[in-house]
Symmetry: C2
Subunit: 310 residues, 2 copies
């Protein structure tokens, strides 16, 4: 497979390295000459993004606000292949890319540090890669991109842009606002000196660039509001217990304790799944993922092992 990678930061760079290692014909491009130079020691790098249009699949791995503009280089007429991306909000990207042979993707992997120097071929091994099978996504295009990320060791999770963005609000965007709020609550000198592990982990992502988090808020507003309201309800229950029935808090804490103790979900047995739109979407809804595609129309998949909690 000839794969073009546009943007060679941590994610794009790691994807390019991994794809090259998996035997694909990779050609990369980055706006930074320094990055192009470093990357050229590892795989083919073009000096002009137009050179990437010969590829079968274009991976657009630029910051979220730039995906739409960057994808214009691969607009229909200029590019015959499939376009996929790695941005953390899918509905927004999809809305700005109508007409393309577009398959939205989001690898659930990263590091605290950025840039090509931090890229590594193993970044996606065993990690979930959400891949959107929306109404207007061609199943054949989706399958081609799924094969690509399976070849670098990712667990490809079939989902929709809407379902992905709802989950992302719950597992990441909400956490960023909560971390910020917790940092504000503990803003007194004694608290800051006494704070240790609980505070460190609960607030880690509060140090993220404010512009990055604002992007989550702006582009995933509705789902983030819904997640905030869900959190408000849970914290309301907690507050009521603390105020009126503190001795019952332990019972309330049991369910979240088991939920956290059984996370990340353990893989169940491998099973075959027909590569149909309905089967794939049903798999994603149960938290399942593709492990390989051996055949033209059957995948090997796994679902989370059923929790042994009452």
């Amino acid at each position: 497979m000839r794969v073009a990678v546009l943007g060679l930061g941590l994610i794009g760079g790691s994807a390019a390295l991994a794809l090259a290692e998996a035997g694909h014909e990779v050609i990369g491009y980055d706006t930074s000459a320094r990055t192009r130079e470093a990357a050229a020691e590892r795989f083919a790098v073009a000096d002009d993004p137009a050179a990437l249009r010969e590829a079968d699949i274009a991976v657009v791995a630029v910051p979220m606000d730039s995906v739409a503009a960057a994808a214009e280089d691969f607009a229909p007429g200029r590019f015959e292949g499939i376009v996929t991306d790695a941005a953390s909000i899918k509905g927004f990207v999809r809305r700005s890319l109508g007409g393309h042979r577009f398959v939205g993707g989001h690898p659930m992997a990263g590091k605290a540090t950025a840039g090509f120097d931090e890229a590594e071929a193993d970044l996606f091994r065993g990690r979930a890669w959400a891949l959107c099978l929306d109404e207007d996504t061609a199943l054949a295009d989706w399958t081609a991109v799924a094969r690509l990320w399976l070849s670098v060791g990712a667990r490809v999770v079939p989902t929709t842009s809407a379902a992905h963005d709802r989950a992302a609000a719950r597992i990441s965007h909400l956490e960023h606002l909560v971390a910020a709020a917790l940092a504000l609550v503990a803003d007194d000198p004694l608290s800051r000196t006494l704070a240790a592990g609980s505070f460190r982990d609960a607030t880690r992502v509060a140090a993220s660039p404010a512009r990055l988090v604002e992007g989550m808020v702006v582009h995933n507003r509705a789902e983030l509001l819904s997640a905030l309201d869900g959190l408000g309800r849970e914290l309301g229950t907690a507050r009521e217990l603390v105020e009126s029935r503190p001795g019952e808090t332990g019972a309330w804490l049991e369910r979240p304790r088991r939920l956290r103790e059984t996370w990340p979900p353990e893989p169940g047995e491998a099973e075959p799944l027909p590569l149909t739109r309905a089967d794939l979407l049903a798999l994603g809804e149960t938290g399942g993922w593709l492990e390989s595609i051996e055949d033209i129309d059957v995948a090997t998949v796994r679902r989370p092992r059923v929790k042994s909690t009452p």
Copy 2:
């Protein structure tokens, strides 16, 4: 100094190892015969807690609910020395120990695992150790315990039970409830499969034993309610921004970002401080700590370096 350590789990065991290494005469006791046996290879261990009453200072390092009962072994009449503890809530312990020569303490160190096998002499090196100088605490007793924990490398933070418990609610107890609420919000199969680093860290302490967290709620109720309300206000501001002015979220995120980026606080220059009650309490209020006590009435202290933020 002859130091008795009652309870040889992670904290008591580490304290005993550290104190022995620092040259103190340590005698320990634990209700578990297996723990006593393991500990006896490292320092003196008694088969009867009564043997601990010869010490100058008794360190009660048993679970919070048992501190009061355990401290009865060191009640006035039976024991002439100072009693100190390591429980995570200070007002509650203090209220149940009236009449003792008691100095409440709380080391801000720990591990995800428990028990003497996990104990290590270096656990407290460079870590904050809150030490309560309440109205009824004798300054000489406080200073004797401060010297003890300074000798194992801790940063002794002078505070009051009330100020400690307020800070603990903000930096730890609140985080436990928030982690539980976040785990509940993300309780759907797709979210659990896609969840990665943000969710992992934000919810880590949701896996804590429910009984332990219930203890925080029951014994630090008022401060936890106040912290919950503080969080509610911050999240209310965030929600209003997300709903009505998403493009202004970045500006709101700047302060928490700087707060987290400048945490943990960097030590400022060493300075001398007279060992008076007023000076010590003022030091703690500014987030400062003792580094050593060379003299009978002067300590070397440090305060957090002033943040260079606007």
